[in-house]
């Protein structure tokens, strides 16, 4: 808490506005995955066949931010707890006390091939893409669960 603040409330508010703008841009990118063009690849032609890849696309993201005013240098503790609650003169000068704020965000995207569409002399065919790694993991999990159940059952019989 300092009396001479490098960052006034106005500067902090403008920073938050800037962060809001960036967050909106990030969200636009997240929601761009909802377009059909994100699922289907560009057609590739070779040896009389045109091939289009199809993938499952998942994306998500979020952000959060906040700021507030600390206890004032005033002794009567009348400083507003939030920027919105601060009187206009305090917002301009930041006289209500220390100003603090922070924010963060994150996001991610994932794609998984599902099928290949082939257009050729024999018509249109859809060939599925099987993810053997995922299936092996699911199979191992199911097998381990069953093994655990069988063991538990045997123990119950012995008692």
């Amino acid at each position: 808490m300092t009396d001479s603040k490098d960052t006034t409330l106005d500067e902090a508010v403008s920073l938050i506005d800037k962060a809001n703008g960036r967050a909106a841009t990030m969200l636009e990118k997240v929601f761009a995955a909802a377009q059909p063009g994100a699922v289907y690849g560009q057609p590739v032609t070779a040896e009389g066949y045109t091939v289009i890849t199809a993938a499952e696309v998942t994306s998500g993201g979020g952000f959060g931010m906040g700021m507030g005013l600390g206890p004032a240098s005033r002794s009567d503790a009348t400083a507003a707890p939030t920027v919105e609650a601060a009187p206009p003169e305090d917002r301009e000068t930041g006289a209500g006390g220390g100003v603090g704020g922070g924010g963060g965000g994150g996001g991610g995207a994932m794609g998984r091939p599902v099928a290949v569409i082939a257009i050729g002399p024999d018509g249109v065919t859809i060939k599925p893409v099987v993810d053997t790694t995922k299936l092996a993991l699911a199979g191992l999990t199911a097998w381990a669960t069953m093994l655990g159940l069988l063991r538990a059952r045997r123990r119950a019989r012995k008692r």
């Binding site: 499952e56 979020g62 569409i117 859809i126 599925p128 699911a138 999990t141 069953m146």
Partner: protein
């Protein structure tokens, strides 16, 4: 300030049609979109392909074989677990 989930919807849309010779293929995708005030989530997957050939229109489903097999394995595991639970020997209390 808004709170909670604002919009959740599912949509089906067509991608750019691809024409090869006399065949026109229009891929279709289905998306689930969840939009919240501070974030969002999108799950988009291929649903079908519309094939137009000499005036005839045919719809071919795009099946996610990996997902089907995964769910099958999950269902099998659950079925065996339930069957095991119901068929386990019950201990009967004998009065002294």
């Amino acid at each position: 300030m808004r709170s909670g989930i604002d919009i959740t919807w599912a949509q089906e849309a067509s991608a750019e049609p691809v024409t090869v010779g006399d065949v026109t293929v229009t891929p279709r995708a289905r998306a689930l979109v969840v939009r919240t005030p501070r974030g969002g989530f999108v799950w988009n997957r291929p649903s079908a392909v519309i094939v137009e050939r000499s005036g005839q229109v045919r719809r071919i489903q795009v099946v996610d074989v990996t997902r089907v097999l995964q769910l099958g394995l999950l269902g099998l595991g659950l079925a065996i677990a339930v069957a095991s639970a119901f068929s386990s020997p019950r201990r009967t209390e004998v009065a002294p």
